[in-house]
């Protein structure tokens, strides 16, 4: 189990958002712009990598009965650290992400990795897994955020000032105005569905180009 496999699993094959469909609440709620997605993605990545390392290091001392409360304690303390650092260095981003930074505690992608991977593996692979899964989630958040922002408000990288500070930036305006629905909740569901469909199409193409071509109707429900 080397680093590259762990990263590839997290980024693509077992992507927490696209394949495991975990952590959808923050994913759907905050991805109204690229910057919001990036902010929450970084926060999740840090918490996930940290919690995987700590859970993995502590795995020998945990009895089965209390393991979940201990995970929650570990994750909650990490989230508090991240939240306080966001408040200190990126107050504007913290305001626009609001409750979803503290809510990372309840992100089931993190508990799932703690339970499924970190509690059964040494520290090194657990860190790799945390970074891979976190990066997969981060990239998905950024992609959906950028897509919805482009459709909904017609800009790219709007509100970058929340990350780098300085004057408010409107971003690069591609078109004037946008398709309001994309930044509303339905737009989040549509974008996620499109992203999942795109991943499945790419996977199917890849499988088809490999040695044995998959049967055309493999994924189709018999009708």
């Amino acid at each position: 189990m080397d680093w590259m496999t762990r990263l590839k699993t997290g980024l693509w094959e077992d992507n927490p958002g696209l394949v495991q469909l975990l952590g959808l609440c923050p994913l759907l709620a905050v991805t109204t712009s690229f910057v919001n997605g990036l902010g929450l993605g970084i926060a999740t990545l840090m918490v996930l990598a940290g919690s995987n390392v700590l859970v993995s290091a502590a795995r020998r001392f945990l009895s089965d009965e209390i393991r979940i409360p201990v995970y929650v304690l570990i994750i909650a303390s990490l989230v508090t650290c991240v939240e306080l650092s966001f408040k200190a260095w990126f107050p504007a981003l913290d305001r626009s992400l609001g409750i979803f930074i503290p809510l990372i505690v309840t992100n089931c992608a993190i508990v799932a990795r703690a339970e499924l991977f970190a509690s059964r593996n040494p520290v090194g692979p657990s860190l790799a897994d945390g970074i891979g899964m976190g990066a997969g989630f981060l990239l998905l958040l950024c992609a959906i955020g950028a897509f919805r922002e482009l459709l909904g408000t017609g800009t790219i990288l709007g509100g970058l000032d929340k990350l780098i500070g300085g004057e408010p930036l409107a971003g690069i305006a591609v078109v004037d105005g946008g398709w309001l629905l994309a930044v509303l909740p339905p737009g989040a569901f549509f974008s996620l569905a499109l992203a999942i469909a795109l991943k499945n199409v790419i996977d199917r193409r890849n499988r088809a180009t490999r040695a044995t071509p998959a049967p055309r109707d493999a994924g189709r429900v018999a009708s």
């Binding site: 398709w179 309001l180 629905l181 509303l184 339905p186 549509f190 009708s223």
Partner: protein, 348 residues
């Protein structure tokens, strides 16, 4: 020896889908004529744009799915979707709004779920809701009915066509000059301003029950609906249940508080109630199938329309009510499954 396996239903339908759809379209003709008479030629342009994009999208998606486009185009369901959309859209609608609704209806609501027969949502309503939520300004451009005594500037045929194609009004004309609030909008905003129902009903666009013009369109839609009932294309359960679900709460609340709530006549003729009861809710694919199920489904739509109109932020709730009950259809069908002959009431 190999036996061919057929799936239910085993009975042969009395008429084919294309035949049924053509009769539905024919039943809509009087209402369409009334629509053009009262609200101008915008309806025709909307209909043409909707047909163009619905049929185009149907052909394109069938090709993408590796099927023969003719198979889907020959049943006219796309044209019915386009016609229902044209009835929902305001008479002044820029083409891209109609196109968005049509594409969403056909590509997402219909073909992503597997095409005709598999769509869990009514495609026309799904497309309409998308543009209603996405383009709130454009969805407000209802013109005033052509009934004489309303102080109002009418747009000519070419000006309407120009608006449909470009989304721009003629020079020196503003939105306020060409658009008027619909009776439902007036009622909602009037009630929000603490005005009495009688006071709102005295406004110039209000007619005997709801709005001038709207009542006539409602009558012609009902005529078409009765024709469908007579031809046995739809059954009575859904229309009756929708209207009962809407009118019973409306009557009860009107009797309790006649000053602050519009009466059943208003609810019946305003907005798309009648169109919904006869043409939208009766969509054979997305509606419930058992007899009890149809009654529950229709009543659910009626009550939801009443609730959205009374407490919601949108003026009319037909599209939302239909989509909500579409979601409930699998549960309704499961709970109202008819008893199998020979089985007791308890076994499922």
């Amino acid at each position: 020896m190999e036996f061919t396996r057929r799936e239910a239903p085993y009975g042969t339908p009395a008429r084919s889908v294309p035949n049924m759809m053509l009769e539905v379209l024919a039943a809509l003709v009087p209402a369409a004529a009334a629509h053009v008479w009262f609200f101008g030629p915008g309806f025709v342009f909307n209909l043409l744009v909707a047909i163009l994009f619905c049929v185009g999208a149907e052909a394109a998606t069938m090709r993408l799915r590796g099927r023969n486009p003719e198979e889907a185009l020959s049943d006219f369901t796309a044209v019915v979707t386009a016609a229902l959309l044209a009835f929902c859209l305001p008479s002044l609608t820029p083409w891209w709004v109609t196109a968005t609704a049509s594409l969403f209806a056909i590509v997402v609501a219909k073909h992503l779920f597997g095409g005709v027969g598999f769509n869990i949502f009514n495609p026309a309503m799904a497309g309409y809701v998308v543009v209603l939520v996405a383009f709130p300004i454009q969805m407000n451009l209802w013109v005033a009915p052509r009934m004489g005594d309303i102080d109002y500037e009418y747009l000519g045929v070419f000006e309407t066509l120009a608006f449909t194609l470009t989304g721009a009004l003629p020079e020196s004309t503003t939105y306020d000059q060409v658009s008027r609030a619909t009776p439902l909008d007036l009622m909602q905003s009037g009630l929000n301003q603490m005005r009495m129902v009688t006071e709102i009903r005295a406004l110039p666009v209000m007619g005997d029950y709801a709005g001038k013009g709207w009542e006539w369109i409602g009558n012609f839609v009902a005529l078409g609906g009765l024709w469908l009932l007579f031809r046995k294309i739809i059954r009575w359960h859904i229309p009756v249940a929708v209207l009962a679900g809407l009118l019973i709460p409306a009557t009860v609340s009107y009797l309790l508080s006649p000053g602050t709530l519009p009466g059943p006549g208003f609810h019946l003729f305003a907005g798309a109630s009648i169109l919904c009861a006869f043409f939208i809710a009766t969509d054979p694919v997305s509606a419930a199938t058992s007899t009890t199920g149809r009654l529950v489904y229709g009543a659910g739509i009626g009550v939801s329309i009443y609730a959205i109109r009374t407490w919601g932020s949108y003026a009319d709730g037909v599209a939302f009510a239909v989509l909500l009950m579409n979601l409930a259809v699998p549960a309704i069908d499961r709970l109202t499954r008819p008893r199998i002959v020979g089985h007791g009431r308890g076994d499922r």
